[in-house]
Symmetry: C2
Subunit: 206 residues, 2 copies
Amino acid sequence: MNLPSKLIEDAVTEISRLPGIGKKTALRLALHLLKQHEAHTEALALSLTRMRQEIKYCKTCHTISDDEECSICKSHKRDSTTICVVEDIRDVLAIENTNQYNGKYHVLGGVISPIQGIGPEELTIESLVSRISESAKNEPVKEIILALSATMEGDTTAFYLGKRLKETGVSISTIARGIPVGGELEFTDEVTLGRSIMTRINYSQE
Amino acid sequence: MNLPSKLIEDAVTEISRLPGIGKKTALRLALHLLKQHEAHTEALALSLTRMRQEIKYCKTCHTISDDEECSICKSHKRDSTTICVVEDIRDVLAIENTNQYNGKYHVLGGVISPIQGIGPEELTIESLVSRISESAKNEPVKEIILALSATMEGDTTAFYLGKRLKETGVSISTIARGIPVGGELEFTDEVTLGRSIMTRINYSQE
């Protein structure tokens, strides 16, 4: 794209660095900002800078928080013997929306991905290990639920966590993989369907 | 969405004001910025603020430009007797990419849209009228090509321009509407196909 202005070209280059936004969309967004009042752009720029500079993470579960400890970690109503391990804060929000979980969380900050250069030491895995051993003094953690994406990176991370957490002696489980609720059997891919047969639930034992 | 941090909530609100970006995408973008180096966010914020504050528009054709007059208006190689009227700079870029046009441009800055509260006085129509009458002293403008979108707003604007420019006496044309090159006849909608029959091109006269 041959833009006639260095200013707009810089803005387009910066916007198009965001994931999922190409040059064309970036130009559309830049032109939109130019049509709006100047205060709009300033509010956007300020909120981004402030967020990046002043953001804090909960010292216990590493989720994004305005305080030193997040509201879920602080809450006494939540079961602290169960920890659900997730990739990032979006997964916390998704699980909270289900209203099916009353334990605590641990945010890894990503998943192991050799292609993107993310190894176990980039994630908050050691913090999880020490969190489990610390808990032994008070209320010991009984179960770790791995709620990671069903991708290769998610599975690799789950495998690594399974090995790393073996020494702690806590029970480790992973969320079920199978056909989605409302999903039709004939349109489910064979890997998912195969997995859902392998990990079938025995009703007679319940 | 119930975000645990005011800082990220502000950022998500501001990002989701951009067209085509919802709350979920905004959160994805905000989390991406948090994972990147701080300098990345600062460069983005700075480029947006600078663009909005320092942008200039060409005094002749109103396109975005770093100088008082844009490179196309300044160029002596381009035919100044033909002016192509477009909605915004993206259309200038699109037409330039065709390599089929060697005239000048006039950027309206939008199209007439009563729903969005955009009337003729919000656009650079009067500037176009005075540009045509000014040109009479030097090289008179002979033709105005209306290259507007084939939408209701585009057609309304073209109709208004047609009436408004009648007094100037210049020839007014509009870009052809018809089936796209490579398009199959049977999949073309009936309005487009009907229009392409009405405005057919007579080869024997050429």
